[in-house]
């Protein structure tokens, strides 16, 4: 593997790893605060699934890099500008409607991406996708059901989930942001062309929103830059909490 391809793959894996790590952390913030006990456990399960996916991506990124960095080094010892997560994942939880809408929009993306990665020319990525696709299929069912229930529910739930959709919409295009190196990965059939994922994503999102009687927001300003390390002010606070322990007590074990 030449250096350009190697660096492109590391960037891509860090993107997926950071995205699932940050979203998993956000979802874990609901632990003990879920609207009902059953949903509290459901969200904790999803947070752990996402953390599991993050570990696989970060571990592989560290191996390809070949400098001995482990998943923990990558998760705990990089600062905001080195994090490559999509912006939608770092947005604060807000209310349950916002959390579920964020979850739904991301999960539709993750589902179509994993589906495509099942046929990646990279064996390791295929094996990650084979594990992830089962988890993500359930995440999709779970978040879709909530979007339908809230959208097609009471006047109040409809209003809250429509507000959530309107407020988060400016971050969706960032999911499809590409870096120059992506082309190399697509040419080698390691990853799919993002345009394919985007059209599938939009089709699924549209059909669910329609069934939920929700209105697709009009095209407007889109905030982008997650993969380039351009983050909002929220990520720093997430990392402060996430990284406190290993930074205060380097090398600690329990």
């Amino acid at each position: 593997m030449n250096d350009n391809l190697k660096n492109a793959l590391i960037d891509y894996l860090l993107w997926l790893g950071d995205t699932t790590l940050v979203l998993g952390h956000r979802i874990s913030e609901w632990c003990g605060h879920g609207p009902i006990l059953e949903e509290d456990i459901a969200m904790t399960n999803i947070a752990l699934d996402l953390l599991g996916e993050a570990r696989l991506y970060l571990t592989y990124a560290g191996e390809i890099e070949g400098k001995g960095r482990t998943e923990d080094d990558l998760a705990y010892l990089r600062d905001v500008m080195d994090y490559k997560n999509s912006l939608i994942c770092e947005q604060p939880n807000g209310d349950f409607a916002f959390t579920m809408m964020r979850q739904f929009l991301f999960t539709v993306f993750n589902y179509h991406l994993q589906e495509a990665l099942l046929t990646s020319s990279d064996e390791r990525i295929r094996s990650i996708a084979e594990k992830a696709i089962k988890e993500v299929t359930y995440h999709l069912r779970h978040s879709k059901d909530w979007v339908l229930r809230m959208g097609d529910g009471t006047e109040e739930s409809h209003m809250k989930v429509q507000d959530a959709l309107n407020n988060i919409w400016m971050f969706v295009d960032d999911l499809f942001l590409t870096l120059p190196g992506d082309k190399l990965l697509v040419d080698e059939k390691i990853v799919p062309a993002i345009t394919t994922i985007k059209s599938k994503w939009l089709e699924t999102v549209k059909s669910v929103l329609e069934e939920a009687t929700l209105k697709l927001p009009a095209d407007g300003f889109m905030m982008k830059g997650g993969r380039q390390g351009k983050h909002g002010e929220h990520l720093g606070f997430i990392l402060a909490e996430l990284q406190y322990l290993p930074r205060a007590y380097p090398g600690t074990k329990w």
């Binding site: 006990l37 059953e38 949903e39 459901a42 399960n45 059901d145 229930r149």
Partner: protein, 97 residues
């Protein structure tokens, strides 16, 4: 005045550990309908590989015997030991008894 119960209806959860085994009562969940009950049961009761199949049943659809009926229901069986198949010699080599 009694406080209004704002919880969703209760569902009883039955889990099959593997194909061919009987379904066993695992616990209960609150849910607005069957689909949500199934997902909640999956999330709460299958986290440690407990099951491969789930039934959820509205708790109010279950007809149960009452404590008052214990005597008339169950005591008559107490002195009928001949109902246990312990008076037969099991032939050697018979499995699964």
């Amino acid at each position: 005045m009694a406080e209004q119960d704002t919880q969703w209806p209760l569902w009883e959860v039955f889990m099959q550990s593997k194909s061919g085994q009987p379904y066993k009562h695992a616990g209960s969940v609150h849910a607005a309908d069957g689909e949500m009950a199934l997902e909640n049961a999956r999330d709460v009761y299958t986290r440690r590989n407990e099951g491969t199949s789930i039934w959820v049943v509205p708790a109010n659809a279950i007809v149960a015997s009452t404590p008052e009926e214990v005597g008339s229901f169950f005591d008559p069986a107490n002195d009928k030991v001949y109902r246990h198949p312990t008076f037969y010699d099991v032939p050697e080599g018979v499995k699964y008894l």
